[in-house]
């Protein structure tokens, strides 16, 4: 299992050993509907073998995670109507929770590295910020990125982490706040060599 599925793997082990009581009718429908978009998103046209294995593992893991979030907090059976939150609010809270924590509408983006034979795919939701993500990328592709500075970009290496935003432009990672990056990032590319240096230099 690749690094993209790393944290899922840890969680999967925990959930597998836990006893859980789900009352009939407790939001199993939301579990069902949430799974559909996730499945749709995961099935891509062009995918490598490694990608597919990883994705299936992630899906299984996130489905397990999802069941956990929908049915009950760890060991307690969820009491009907408790805490006393209006059903309307509960539904919007649960969909929010499902969306952010189990990435059923997960932000899966392709990652390409100049010179690498195949692409990878990661879920941006898993990462807490730029340094977290960059470390993961460094591990995934076995390279070092260098120090970020607003003025000079990523100094000290021949690589530059970039992303394609909603407008189709290639942007250097790290300039905008993390949340904004997550919503606007369409794909990642680790540029290498002179092209990379071009992006990093102040104009």
């Amino acid at each position: 299992m690749g690094s993209g599925g790393g944290s899922y793997e840890k969680d999967l082990n925990l959930e597998a050993t836990e006893l859980r009581l789900g009352l009939p009718g407790t939001t199993s429908s939301t579990a069902a509907t949430d799974q559909e978009p996730e499945a749709r998103q995961a099935r891509n046209n062009k995918r490598s073998l490694v990608d597919r294995c990883e994705e299936e593992a992630s899906e299984d893991a996130s489905r397990a995670l999802q069941k956990d979030h929908d049915s009950a907090p760890s060991s307690k059976a969820q009491i009907v109507g408790w805490p006393p939150i209006r059903s309307y609010r509960k539904n919007s809270l649960q969909t929010k929770k499902a969306e952010t924590e189990t990435s059923s509408s997960g932000i899966y983006v392709k990652v390409s590295m100049d010179g690498a034979p195949y692409l990878r795919k990661i879920d941006l939701n898993v990462y807490k910020g730029y340094s977290n993500l960059l470390k993961a990328l460094e591990n995934m592709f076995k390279f070092t990125i260098g120090e970020y500075s607003e003025r000079e970009g990523y100094k000290g290496s021949e690589f530059a982490p970039t992303y394609e935003d909603k407008d189709g432009d290639w942007m250097l990672m790290g300039d905008v706040p993390w949340e904004m990056f997550m919503t606007s990032c369409k794909k990642l590319r680790i540029m290498r060599g002179s092209e990379a240096r071009g992006l990093g230099c102040a104009v």
């Binding site: 907090p73 006393p84 609010r89 809270l93």
Partner: protein, 583 residues
């Protein structure tokens, strides 16, 4: 007028009174009475006053739709223009009442179409409203102006389309937190192009996209629009376009506050908010990004009510925002702001009267999230005018509550929800009896109380003994024996609504209220120790009460019941579904 006087002398006195005060004058005077409690009092004075009052009444409030029939209402009040109806028991908000339980508006509308063809306003809470009913409403009432649906179910956006299409004089469309079928946002486009009377539009809780151009045109041409609460699909730049067309708004609910804005858009939005000089209520701010909250600042100078239920703010963002809200009286937040956020509230909101703190993750067991007793304490030191609180937390102490009510003795509504059922004082490990004892002893004006945590009968002894103004009491997972409920029923003279779940109260407790229930609106008991036998006795002894029993599917031994008891002049209801047994 001395109420103890024998009846005919009272009548002759009123006859003399009537000679001095012709009916028309009396009616005119009484028509100025707004409060329905005052009107009820007036109607008891004498026959003449009773009739003057009933002819002059324009608004009727019915707290339990099954306590009376529409025919009886129409017979007594011939000139009603505005009806407010509440249906299901409150615990239906928490899924404790099965579907198709009742409270359908249909039979009411049928009578109203005949007897109140000039009906203008309908405000419904926890009623079932179908699309057919909405279409009927739109068709039959030419003068219809205001529709408010809160926590209702049974309709879809198609029903709203019927209202928008046909109600030419509509001033208010307020759709809140309903279990509705949100098919599409096309209903908004159904308002005719020459329709301009809208003053209140709230569709914040709907999720479908609306046609933005139609909304923009609608807002442009409705010059009296005062309240606009849009849903999440409305983006920030769309909001800006709406705001410049409606600068006179007094209440605004924004859509999504999560959008990338360039510098130009940001300043345009800031300018638009700056133009809203009359805003006193602000809500929405869905998924607000801290980055954009400052655009609000120019509009917050006169804000009295800030509803941050949909914006999971951290304490720093809240603190910065509150700096710009000097007049805040009511604040609703998520517990993501933490105790630090509540300290900021204490520092910046000296005029605060109402605070509601909702849990962002109610089903999360971790104690480290959310708010604790220290946040509540901080607010009590800083906000001495606090009288309404709804507080969801994961830990509390008796000492904290005692201090809180010492700081703020004027509580009228004290609703504390310690989210883990039966949890004791986390410092002393004792029951939370003394906390609620302090509340009822100190807060003499207390009207509404919700208790939680580990509670013995002592809590209820205190309540019965001290809570002389208590009208509504909510109890869950509390008490040790029947004695608790007996104390409450024997003690609180003004009790109107009592709702109990998962408590060890049985038939003795239920029947101790025999003398009481007719002076109350309703009693709800579920997952308690009441048996069918006890309910049958109650029904037999008190024919003017409806005693409705439902089998509780969630109960482990299949013997538990959900009991709903209410006074009524309508007799047993004729629309009860098969799972509701009226004894």
């Amino acid at each position: 007028m001395d109420p103890k006087k024998p009846r005919d002398s009272a009548e002759s006195e009123s006859a003399r009174g009537a000679a001095q005060f012709p009916d028309e004058v009396l009616e005119r005077v009484l028509s100025l009475l707004a409060s329905h409690k005052d009107r009820s009092a007036v109607s008891l004075v004498s026959k003449a006053w009773y009739h003057a009052e009933r002819w002059s009444r324009r608004r009727v409030f019915i707290g339990n739709c099954y306590s009376v029939t529409p025919e009886i209402v129409a017979r007594r009040f011939p000139n009603i223009r505005s009806v407010t109806l509440k249906g299901k028991p409150r615990f239906s908000d928490f899924n404790l009442v099965p579907q198709n339980w009742g409270a359908d508006i249909r039979s009411w509308l049928a009578v109203f179409a005949d007897r109140y063809p000039f009906l203008e306003e309908l405000r419904l809470k926890r009623m079932t409203v179908t699309d057919e009913s909405l279409k009927f409403l739109a068709l039959k009432f030419q003068n219809f102006r205001a529709l408010s649906l809160l926590s209702c179910d049974g309709f879809s956006t198609n029903g709203l389309a019927a209202i928008a299409t046909r109600c030419r004089n509509l001033t208010e469309l307020d759709i809140q937190e309903n279990g509705i079928d949100d098919i599409s946002g096309d209903w908004l486009s159904c308002f005719p192009e020459n329709f301009t009377s809208l003053e209140v539009l709230n569709f914040a809780s709907l999720s479908s996209d609306v046609e933005f151009d139609a909304l923009e045109r609608l807002v442009s041409r409705c010059n009296s629009l005062k309240v606009l609460k849009v849903n999440r699909t409305i983006t920030l730049d769309q909001l800006q376009r709406l705001l410049v067309r409606a600068p006179r708004l007094t209440e605004l609910g924004t859509g999504s506050f999560l959008q990338e804005l360039n510098a130009h858009q940001y300043s345009e939005l800031e300018r638009a908010f700056g133009g809203c000089k009359n805003l006193h209520t602000l809500s929405g701010l869905c998924e607000a990004m801290a980055l954009y909250l400052p655009v609000l600042y120019p509009a917050c100078a006169n804000l009295t009510f800030l509803n941050l239920n949909d914006a999971a703010l951290q304490h720093e963002e809240l603190a910065k925002l509150l700096l710009h809200c000097p007049c805040l009286q009511r604040l609703w937040v998520l517990d993501t702001v933490g105790d630090d956020g509540l300290e900021a509230v204490a520092l910046n909101c000296p005029w605060l009267e109402e605070l509601r703190v909702f849990p962002a993750n109610p089903f999360d067991e971790e104690v480290n999230h959310g708010v604790s007793e220290s946040g509540f304490l901080a607010v009590s030191y800083g906000c001495r005018r606090l009288h309404y609180v709804l507080y969801f937390c994961r830990q509390m102490t008796n000492a904290a509550v005692a201090t809180i009510v010492q700081n703020c003795p004027d509580f009228t509504h004290f609703r504390l929800c310690i989210m883990n059922p039966g949890q004791p004082d986390y410092v002393t490990n004792e029951p939370m009896d003394e906390a609620f004892g302090a509340v009822v002893k100190t807060c003499t004006k207390l009207q509404r109380l919700a208790v939680s945590g580990l509670l013995t009968d002592l809590t209820f002894e205190y309540i019965g003994r001290y809570a002389k103004n208590l009208e509504t009491l909510s109890v869950a997972f509390a008490g040790s024996s029947d004695w608790a409920m007996q104390c409450v029923l024997g003690g609180c003279p003004k009790l109107r609504k009592l709702e109990i779940r998962d408590c060890p109260f049985g038939n003795a407790a239920l029947l101790s209220g025999l003398e009481k229930y007719e002076s109350m609106r309703s009693l709800w008991m579920s997952a308690c120790k009441v048996t069918m036998n006890g309910c049958e006795v109650l029904a037999r002894e008190r024919p003017r009460l409806n005693v409705e029993v439902m089998k509780d599917e969630e109960s482990s031994d299949g013997q538990q019941y959900k009991v709903y008891v209410y006074r009524t002049v309508a007799g047993p209801r004729r629309d009860a579904p098969p799972f509701v047994l009226t004894l």
